[in-house]
Amino acid sequence: MARLLQRVGDDEGSDWMVDREEWNWDTGKKLVCDLRALQDRFDEVHEWAVSADGERIAAPVLTAPDVFRVWVNDSLWEGEYEKAWHLVFGPDGRLTALVRVEDEWTVGIDGELWDERWEFAWNPTFNRNGSVIAVQIKDNMEYTVAVNGRPWEQRFHSSRGLVVSDDGSHVAALVQVEPLAEADTVGFMEGTWSVAVDGMPWERKFINVYGPAITADGTHVAAEVRLDICDYTLAEDGVLWDNTFGCVWEPTYRNGRRAIIAPVRTGGSWTIAENGSPIWDSRFMQLWNQRVSADSEHIAAVAAPGFGLWTVVVDDRPWRSSFNDLVLPPVFSADGRRVAAGIRHDGEWGIAVDGETWAESYDMVWDPVFTPSGDRVAAKVERDGRFAIAVDGKVWSPWYEALWEPVFSPDGTRLLIRAVENGTYFRQVVPFDSTFQG
């Protein structure tokens, strides 16, 4: 799933910085692969995946009718599969794919398959450094989770939603713990869902559970829970918040503060609650997609101060500008001082930073990326079917056939471009100056 593809610009955490230190940051352009020949070489070439450091590009290919293989940098994994899809370079750079062999599914990692196979496997989810990979699986019509190839012993009637702690020590999933007959609306209201942590479900069952979150060390898990027809709250480790609400959205941990925050609807309007009680004075028609700064001190969220007006609220203060189509989830700078978000207004896509909207608009924008210092902002943008990097409000790079999101060097002086031009995929490190020098 696209949202699961690791986008290095999303996070300025220490693990990423370590990884990036090891990358080649020498300025220059490296032609990685000529992609044009692939169309002739293979029956079909499916969607591309590119590694965070730009060194590798991969795609599922068909080498013959119904024969899938995984192609990466002009090499093929040895295996032939009935299906191969959902290629993702994990945080540690390993390439993963979901593959089907003899009508059973498993995970392939850099060409090696997990030993166990199941009726179905999907939604690979990684811990922070990529050493732990969890997938949802179905086996003999029962559902559970496999972690690094080993399934939980417990089986469930269904499972949806999966989170892995940053350190990889714990995995949690939403699970259906009671069977439900067709049209059993009474049994449904008695609660059939719970949250399983490392296979063990919470004792309490709920009508619905949504949006699981897990602390970085995996010691606590929270989720939205539904208690009655229109009665929602948050639960942590199976224990409910004291207050209930007309609706809630998914929680987020403030790891540094040992706190959970979530948007809650109370009295017909929305605000942010922390550990059960509202902490913002402002009330909104809508409020969601809250994000917490790396130091846990600041909260930014997307809000609708009025009908059809969308903005970003930072620490209870809405931006002065608002947008009439949408605002994408906000992005913090590493130091938490600044916030940027993709926006759409009057049908045009743009970027807004600290409430100021870039003058240029585009056909599409991707999430803004701050320099490590937080002083400047870059974003992948699209116009007329071609892609470029815009910086601080202006198109900065050339336009390319295809482009992945920009990555800054740890010191912020250089920018990694991962792009396709004239049918060739390349990685290019350029000085991050006022003008593009490529």
């Binding site: 969607e47 949802q136 067709e182 449904f188 539904r226």
Partner: protein
Amino acid sequence: MADLQDIQVIDPGVDESIKKLTPERIERTINRVLTEESAARLQIYLDTCVHCGLCAEACQSYISRDGDPDYAPVAKVKDTLWEMVKRKGKVDGEFLHNAARIAFIDCGACRRCSAYCPFGIDISYLIMTVRRILNLLGVVPQYLQDTTNSHAVTMNQMWVQQDDWIDTLMWQEEDAQAELAGTRIPLDKEGAEIMYSIIGPEPKILAQLIANMAIIFKVAGADWTMPSTDGWDNSNMAMYSGDFETMGRVERLHWERAMQLKVKRVVMGECGHAYRGAVYDGPRWLGWTKPPIPMVHAVEYYYELLKSGRIKIARKIEEPVTVQDPCNIVRGRGLHHKLRYVINEICEDFHDMEPRYEHNYCCQAGGGLINCGPPWKLSRMKSNRIKADQIRETGAHTVITPCHNCHSGIEDIIGHYKLGCHVSFISELLVKTIEMPNAGEEA
């Protein structure tokens, strides 16, 4: 008076739920909705209606039941919401039983009556307010509630598991390739122009429609994708059961999935209520005045493809056809002319219904009616004799239904009234009639 057989229908979602209610809860819930959720709009409608009854002749259930005044829209409001207001919420279980039948079965929220109201009162809104109250009391027909429960758990209408969804798309891709080599169903293709979203019954019981659309996209050379996980279903029966929180959750996920996939627009399959949910009711409950990303109904998309020449018709359907105007895309969106353009491109012998366009009668299946299930089927049939008459008079062999509820509802009518014709989605006709590139050749 109301049909005795209808009154005697046993539906545990209604009957058993009412037994659990206390007078205090009923009163509290009604007054909460009337004062906190409806307020000005409701009051204006109630104050404006002069009880003229002009809405009666607009309603297919009133006409089909020989002008029984209990089936007039004004009576449906009078016997439900007006009484709740008048009695300040002090109503009993028998009242709620009657209100549930009226609000969930006798009215399909099709809005034809509003078009005939001299003041333009949105009578459907008033009935939906009754449904909201009943939902908060837990008084919802069992099968409709089960559908809503499915939305709440799976974010789709038919309890489709995440693995089944992916698996279905994969085998539909294979089926489509058997028809047209190279056809794909690209999953999670970030940056595609189009996200194609459909309704739950397609992967569950009508999977070939997905393959049909993949073929159409292939022939048109479209850049499209489908999400591999929740958010693919654009339908929303929670909207009709009155569970607006679940409705909002479903719609939020649908639109956020489109945002994550970075698509320029969403093309949706042939469904009417899903259009209403995804374009009107859902976004507005969430705070959007319109869909955050443009949404195009399949009829508009087919029109665009045919008009621009991106797909061409190689051979037309010769047998006589007619079309059902889905309320939510015709009365609700004005797609009737584009719909007829598409049909006339595909079919040689088109016979329109009378009345037609926005004046056409509802199928009496939308608005959540058909989702109320078998207990209420006979009532639906009785309430739509006029539709059977309309279809019969066209002499059509095929009734084109670019809406899933219309499709199923009219299929029921054809069977019940022995009309001897059949129903078809447009995509089923398109794949039979469009010019296909040679096998293995790129479109």
